[in-house]
């Protein structure tokens, strides 16, 4: 059992305190002009202060003896003269990645499965960790960049690149690449009619594109028209979505040939685009810029594509120029290749798992099959770990429902509290989810720096009598012959509303919502669940055409990173205040509504504006806690269960993945600890 390491709550608290103190001191320090040394050795300000042993403070370890510290398959190439020696391939100060499970062995293959291009997240999440990434305690540490600084209001971000970082074809990566991307890709209106939101700030109602400067080859300064304190989170994950300009990492020397302004023969380029089946050069350019669709495109990731993801087997092979090393100076990644095999149905995936053909995967695994996975642990030679994810089971009562009577009902705080008290969470947990969840309100996870027990543990006790009281107080006292409450308007009609969701009959979530319908019936509330297809759901919430939804809620590990979209009601697929959320997105939307002046949601939005502009992380947390206080007071979205478990299949002998780590898409799910530091105890027997 040595391989599993559970991080206890206490340990976590201790570590996060250290980190928090560090952050506080760092952010108090004036963001003065960095001296040459300060730029490289000082920990960068903002929430990037790493725990003592982490990257920024450790001296560069690459010495002569480290030259041999590379994968055997690369050493062979070097010996054959096909590849330059290691020290020429690494930056002068390589990124030292913490190996959470010790220094590993080189070699082997990780076998995984995926469902096609639309399910490219397995490959991208394992490979695309970007300018900064998290350590085990969720502190951000520099990764591709050596360090960064912000000015006093966080409107200006300065990044220091690692000198000598190379693309996977050996060309040097410098600030010129980023400048080229800024001017010719994100700044080109054929490619980007309007720049992707990540690179903009909103001033009034306008999106303002950032300014970008590169004083030298290794420094890039991004300037925004107003503070953008959480910008660094946008630079963690997700070059997998280049189609949205998420990555600023375009290999300009390679992509130039597909750019109309740089092509030797623009007409030939247009012809080539048409030949390849694209509308114009822009579409062709963007297609060629996906590392996983175009294996020839150089990249900076630990693994590079050997073929296109649209095939039945997608193979990623180690990047000989990867800029990361372990604490002993061994170049990462440890594992030679990652392969993803295409499957059509979960049945085939499950058979592969039980037959031991999947080495490491949480994606696509269902808790409903937990027993099946467990049964075959011995024969398939793997272990099943249970990840704790950020998802919650929660009910969205649309405060802006079109039906006036439903709107009045949901806007009554008493009613929402009654909806929370009326539910027997333990029974729901046992009957629908085999007892794997934890009763809690929709709120930040325990592992989160924004964990707030005052909200998480509110109104969790099953108390039908207590639930009846607020409903009576709210004035819904009259009942019909069947014991259901009537609307307050004296029409004599029975109160009822509809809950929609895309959970089909027989799924645990559908079981749970049917239980909810029964619990609510016990306190005299009549409602019904209706399954609707996903696209129809999209249409309906866009039109504010939903009364209540059974859509749950996630993004609670680092709620600030995704800009608290659910807590603010911004993300309208969790439609607890659909029309107001639409207003927040775009006031001109025909279905948008401005919330009443005195409504508490305005206060949430105000607090968020302050929170987003706050540079000091402690102050920022405080402001966010004030938002959570409003949540605790008003309970906008009654939550039932949280800590949704997700099985993760780990082949025996596979090391580096630690049990007990939280999982959320913000931190790339099972790739949180950095897949490049995962390794095989015995790589020889996993060569595939």
């Amino acid at each position: 059992m040595t391989r599993k390491r559970n991080i206890t709550r206490r340990e976590f608290l201790r570590l996060s305190t250290i980190a928090a103190v560090g952050v506080a001191t760092a952010s108090c320090a004036p963001a003065a002009e960095p001296t040459e040394e300060a730029a490289t050795t000082e920990a960068p300000p903002e929430r990037t202060e790493a725990p003592p042993e982490a990257t920024t403070e450790a001296p560069p370890v690459v010495t002569e003896e480290a030259a041999a510290k590379e994968a055997p398959m690369l050493a062979e190439l070097v010996a054959a003269g096909e590849l330059p020696p290691l020290e020429e391939r690494l930056p002068t100060t390589p990124c030292i990645l913490p190996a959470h499970d010790g220094v590993g062995n080189y070699g082997g293959t990780i076998r995984r499965a995926f469902k096609g291009v639309s399910d490219r997240w397995g490959p991208t999440k394992s490979n695309d960790h970007f300018l900064a990434w998290y350590d085990q305690d969720l502190n951000l540490i520099p990764r591709l960049v050596e360090s960064w600084e912000i000015n006093e209001d966080a409107s200006e971000w300065t990044f220091h690149l690692r000198e000598g970082t190379k693309w996977s074809d050996g060309t040097e990566f410098t600030s010129a690449d980023i400048v080229w991307w800024y001017e010719n890709e994100m700044g080109n209106t054929d490619l980007w009619p309007s720049p992707y939101i990540k690179w903009t700030v909103t001033v009034g109602t306008d999106k303002v594109f950032m300014d970008l400067e590169a004083p030298d080859d290794y420094t890039v300064i991004m300037k925004f028209a107003r503070p953008k304190t959480l910008f660094i989170y946008d630079l963690t994950r997700g070059t997998g979505m280049e189609s949205f300009g998420v990555g600023c990492l375009t290999p300009s020397h390679y992509m130039k040939q597909f750019h109309i302004d740089f092509a030797d023969d623009p007409e030939a380029l247009e012809a080539e685009a048409t030949e390849a089946g694209f509308e114009n050069w822009a579409a062709y350019y963007l297609d060629r810029n996906y590392w996983y669709l175009n294996p020839e495109r150089p990249s900076l990731s630990p693994w590079v594509a050997k073929n296109a993801l649209s095939e039945e087997l997608f193979i990623m092979e180690r990047n000989p120029y990867y800029y990361g090393v372990d604490t002993e100076g061994n170049q990462l990644p440890y594992v030679d290749t990652i392969q993803h095999r295409l499957y059509e149905t979960a049945e085939v995936l499950n058979l592969w798992v039980t037959n031991g053909e999947i080495d490491f995967q949480a994606r696509g695994m269902a808790m409903a099959n937990f027993t099946l996975y467990k049964e075959s642990e011995a024969s398939g030679d793997y272990s099943v770990f249970v990840q704790k994810t950020a998802s919650h089971v929660a009910l969205q009562c649309n405060l802006t429902a079109k039906n006036e009577r439903v709107r009045e009902l949901f806007n009554d705080r008493n009613v929402r509290i009654a909806f929370s008290l009326a539910v027997n969470r333990d029974e729901m947990n046992e009957l629908a989810y085999d007892g794997f969840y934890t009763p809690r309100q929709y709120s930040p996870m325990e592992e989160s720096p924004q964990y707030y027990p005052d909200l998480s543990n509110l109104y969790l006790d099953y108390d039908p009598d207590e639930a009846n009281r607020p409903l009576d107080e709210a004035g819904y006292t009259e009942k019909d012959a069947d014991g259901f409450r009537l609307w307050k308007d004296g029409s004599g009609e029975t109160l009822s509303f509809e809950i929609v969701g895309d959970w089909e009959a027989g799924t645990p979530n559908e079981d749970a919502v049917q239980l909810l319908v029964r619990y609510l019936a016990d306190v005299g509330i009549k409602c019904a669940y209706k399954y609707i297809e996903r696209s129809l759901y999209q249409e309906r919430f866009r039109a504010n055409d939903i009364e209540a939804a059974w859509w749950g809620g996630d993004r609670t590990l680092l709620p600030l990173a995704p800009l608290a979209v659910i807590f603010r009601g911004y993300q309208t697929d969790r439609p607890w205040a659909c029309a107001w959320g639409l207003y927040l997105q775009n006031p001109d939307d025909p279905n948008a509504e401005k919330p009443p002046e005195d409504h508490w949601i305005n206060e949430i939005w105000n607090l968020w504006d302050q929170c987003e502009a706050e540079v000091d992380p402690d102050r920022q947390n405080e402001l966010f806690f004030q938002i959570l206080d409003i949540w605790a007071e008003e309970l906008p979205m009654p939550g039932y269960l949280g800590n949704q478990p997700n099985p993760c299949i780990v082949k025996n002998g596979f090391r580096g993945y630690l049990d007990g780590m939280p999982s959320d898409d913000t931190v790339a799910d099972e790739h949180f600890l950095g897949t490049e530091t995962y390794y095989w105890e015995d790589p020889e027997s996993h060569m595939s």
């Binding site: 076998r111 096609g116 291009v117 639309s118 980007w192 009619p193 309007s194 992707y196 939101i197 999106k207 994950r237 997700g238 979505m241 189609s243 949205f244 998420v246 390849a276 089946g277 694209f278 509308e279 822009a282 297609d287 996906y290 669709l293 073929n307 649209s310 095939e311 039945e312 087997l313 193979i315 392969q339 095999r341 295409l342 499957y343 059509e344 149905t345 049945e347 085939v348 058979l351 592969w352 039980t354 037959n355 053909e357 696209s535 129809l536 999209q538 249409e539 993004r555 995704p562 800009l563 979209v565 993300q571 697929d573 997105q585 775009n586 939307d589 959320d664 898409d665 913000t666 595939s688």
Partner: protein, 329 residues
């Protein structure tokens, strides 16, 4: 005869035009479009896309244009350049995607059809000639069970047995080490190791029905005077049966070319999905679900064209065989 064929070919043109319009309209009917599902997918993975971003994508895919403009663009691409458009989900030209999978699909379907006939015809003949004997009852029971068993269920069972009893890797047509390898003897051997499961299942599904058809048709023929005559003339029984009534009884197999051409491509979708076979069926199903409209539309068009062509072929065969049809046509 020649004039008849020309007339039929000319008639096919308006039919195909109407079909292409109908299929294009149908794939646009469900709420939302590809971008709706794409935006949902992104949002599920923790990325947000704003209204302007969606607008940009809409332009990139040409989804903002009126439906008739999109239609003409698509159809003119097919006719003028052989360009079937771009699959939005796979980010590849539709024709490449379909071609990649077509060869395996046709191979699989035709092998399965041959295996099915190879079993069904002898068994059906035996059943008919030994009507109401114990073997006939046994075979009838088996084939009724076969007709009643859904193929996908059988696929699940066979897959499980192959894995647990034979310790064989299931799903797909190749082991993973051969997936990207160029064709070689070893790859063919590997494919044959996997091919038997889908072939068996697809064949079994149609075999049962074919046995019943052969048996019923042959029973109709067996009592006809020409059989009696042949028998009275002392023709050997085996030769008699196989040479005369069986040939007539097999007519349905050959006159169903019309729809079997289309089913070569889309047939057995459910089984292929369950077995994760990389054939055209699962791809079409997925295209329809994600509203990947050019891919889905191309499939619908292709299937309709094959049905229309198949019908023509079987009409020609029938006309050739049966003078009455030819004269009326």
């Amino acid at each position: 005869m020649f004039g008849y064929i020309i007339r039929r070919v000319l008639l096919m043109i308006p039919t195909l035009i109407v079909i292409s319009i109908i299929s294009f309209v149908i794939i646009q009917l469900p709420p939302g479009d590809y971008l709706t599902s794409y935006a949902a997918q992104l949002s599920a993975q923790g990325d947000t896309i704003d209204a302007q971003g969606l607008k940009a994508l809409e332009e990139r895919y040409g989804l903002g244009q009126p439906i008739h403009v999109q239609y003409f663009k698509w159809v003119s691409g097919i006719i003028l350049r052989g360009d079937w458009g771009q699959s939005m989900e796979w980010q590849k030209p539709v024709k490449d995607l379909i071609w990649e999978r077509l060869a395996l699909t046709i191979l699989l379907s035709s092998v399965a059809i041959l295996v099915s006939w190879f079993i069904a015809i002898p068994v059906g003949v035996y059943s008919a000639t030994h009507q109401y004997s114990i073997p006939d009852y046994v075979l009838s029971v088996i084939s009724f069970v076969g007709v009643g068993t859904p193929g996908f269920l059988l696929a699940l069972i066979v897959m499980y047995l192959a894995m647990s009893q034979l310790n064989q890797s299931v799903g797909g047509l190749f082991s993973s080490e051969f997936l990207l390898a160029p064709w070689s003897l070893a790859k063919v051997v590997d494919m044959l190791k996997h091919l038997w499961i889908p072939v068996l299942i697809i064949a079994l599904e149609s075999t049962a029905g074919s046995i019943r058809t052969t048996r019923a048709n042959l029973l109709d023929e067996l009592n006809k005077p020409y059989v009696e005559t042949a028998r009275a003339k002392g023709l050997e029984e085996g030769k008699l049966i196989w040479k005369y009534p069986v040939r007539v009884a097999l007519n349905p197999f050959f006159s169903t070319v019309g729809w079997s051409l289309a089913s070569l491509i889309s047939g057995q979708t459910l089984i292929a999905v369950v077995l994760s076979l990389q054939t055209t069926g699962p791809m079409m199903l997925r295209a329809l679900m994600s509203q990947d409209m050019y891919l889905a539309g191309s499939f619908l068009l292709l299937l309709s064209s094959l049905t229309v062509i198949g019908t023509l072929v079987s009409d020609i065969i029938l006309a050739w065989v049966d003078p009455r049809i030819r004269l009326r046509g």
